[in-house]
């Protein structure tokens, strides 16, 4: 009953450039409820201890284990092998810096993005008053903000975006989602012009070609299509309104 799985992994270690990228094929026995996290650990334990891949939470929370599963960006710890064919192809996410095999450095890319978009609350007057009680927020607004705050920076939307593959400066759905999140947050005092300067261009919302790869691969099922459309409307309105 248990299937034999054939797992093909694209392997390459940038520290050993003399070994060209190659596909390594492993055969393992499928178990009930097996995830790719379990499968990869099997391989590392019984086949090849040098295989590199990342995991931390193994519960779809930390966003470390994203990789291409049969070409589709997915969290390995959330992917059940029974949902897949018995022949599985794994590859590292594109765009990000490769650490080795399936392990990529999403962290520095995301950090760069957050610095560029200044994804934190901008509020000059109250910046230093950490002890002061926060003003209450309308529960509906709080819900909306919280919904978008669920992004775990796994990078799946980045790897699933055709626009980003062609334009490395594009902020991607993860970036647009962050801007939508702060724009909705009444505590952030940036005005529409400041937001426009951040994403009202070809590297921002107007570069998005609505391919919806992001929406379909988002690990947290965030409403990315709807939020990008929202941001596009806000930015277009700003451009139509502003005189200068």
């Amino acid at each position: 009953m248990n299937r034999e799985l054939t797992i093909d992994i694209l392997r390459y270690d940038p520290n050993q450039p003399e070994i060209k990228p190659y596909i390594a094929s492993y055969k393992i026995q499928e178990q009930v409820g097996m995830t790719l996290f379990v499968a990869l650990n099997e391989i590392r334990k019984h086949h090849d201890s040098s295989l590199k891949f990342d995991f931390v939470c193994r519960a779809g929370i930390c966003g470390s284990c994203s990789m291409l599963v049969n070409g589709k960006p997915s969290l390995a710890c959330k992917t059940l092998t029974q949902k897949l064919d018995s022949h599985i192809r794994l590859a590292p996410l594109p765009v990000f810096e490769l650490i080795g095999d399936l392990s990529v450095f999403t962290g520095n890319w995301m950090r760069g993005l957050n610095e560029r978009l200044e994804s934190w609350i901008h509020h000059k007057e109250e910046e230093l008053e950490v002890d002061k009680l926060e003003k209450p927020m309308d529960p509906d607004v709080a819900d909306d903000v919280y919904e978008l705050d669920r992004c775990i920076e796994c990078g799946c939307c980045v790897a699933g975006c055709g626009t980003l593959q062609m334009n490395e400066n594009f902020v991607g759905a993860v970036g647009l989602n962050k801007i939508a999140r702060y724009q909705l947050d009444p505590r952030d005092k940036r005005d529409e012009k400041e937001y426009y300067e951040l994403v009202g261009n070809e590297d921002g919302v107007f570069g998005c070609m609505t391919l919806l790869g992001c929406e379909d691969v988002c690990s947290k099922n965030l409403p990315l299509q709807s939020k990008i459309a929202y941001l596009r409307r806000v930015m277009a309105k700003t451009a139509l309104k502003k005189k200068d």
Binding site: L68, G71, K72, P94, G160, G162, Q165, M166, K193, Y196, E197, L198, G200, N201, E202, F206, C208, M209, T210, L211, L212, G213, D216, P223, Q225, S226, A229, Y230, R232, R233, M235, A236, T238, A239, L240, K242, D244
Partner: protein, 235 residues
């Protein structure tokens, strides 16, 4: 970064011209299909566009003007959309590989749009320029003559396939791009739009192919030696 409104305007203009062209095509193919009812019906539609029912005489130049407006919008749309084409060979390879390995429907649909857009650039221009320069050669017999004896059926067939797929994929995309008529449940809304897109593509391909078949039939069976035009005088 500075405050630059250009990109917002270009994006609005691209969507606006796209919607205009799509609505135009939806009407155009229905009017063309009047031939399926009868030669008389198609003739009446031609007269209508020539302003006969308004002015009491035929003004074929009205068709030239209408086709001219469509040509301007068409070129504008194509020029703006051109910036979305892969800028160089490297990017072309990247997007091609991404589309293939990702095997994601909406990403693939985009490449269909780029390919059909490219095709239409030539086919559509030929057709539009012809309508602007010889607007008086429209009617059940004259149009059929062009289809069969001037081999325009090749152009019309390819144009039909590309324009119908491009227009409805485009409408699907543009609705999601701006969130037009979006409900509280965007995921269901997208599924609904996707089904509507498929339905309209099938419907309009059917309508267009049936009309083209009818024009071809008339062109092949009508005796052009005896009369080329449908009617000399209107009732």
């Amino acid at each position: 970064m500075r405050f630059d409104k250009k990109e917002a305007y270009l994006d609005l203009l691209q969507s606006g011209t796209g919607i205009f062209l799509a609505l135009f095509i939806m009407g155009h193919l229905v009017f063309e299909a009047s031939i399926l009812i009868s030669n008389e019906m198609m003739y009446k539609v031609t007269l209508m566009f020539e302003g006969f029912y308004l002015f009491g005489e035929r003004h074929a130049w009205i068709i030239s003007v209408l086709a001219g407006i469509v040509l301007v919008v068409f070129i504008t749309h194509a020029l703006i959309a051109l910036r979305r084409f892969p800028a160089d060979y490297k990017r072309y390879k990247i997007i091609k590989h991404h589309t293939k390995s990702f095997a994601h429907e909406d990403t693939t649909l985009w490449s269909v749009q780029v390919a059909t857009g490219f095709m239409m650039f030539f086919l559509g221009s030929v057709h539009l320029v012809m309508m602007i320069s010889t607007p008086d050669k429209i009617g059940p017999f004259l149009s059929s003559y062009r289809v069969v004896h001037e081999y325009m059926w090749v152009v019309y067939f390819l144009l039909l396939l590309s324009v119908v797929t491009h227009a409805f994929i485009g409408l699907y995309r543009v609705m999601l791009k701006w969130g037009i008529f979006e409900s509280d449940d965007p995921k269901t809304y997208r599924k609904l739009l996707k089904s509507a897109m498929r339905g309209f593509i099938v419907l309009y391909l059917f309508l267009g192919l049936a009309s083209l078949a009818k024009y071809s039939y008339i062109g092949m069976t009508h005796n052009y030696e005896k009369t080329k035009i449908y009617k000399e005088v209107t009732q």
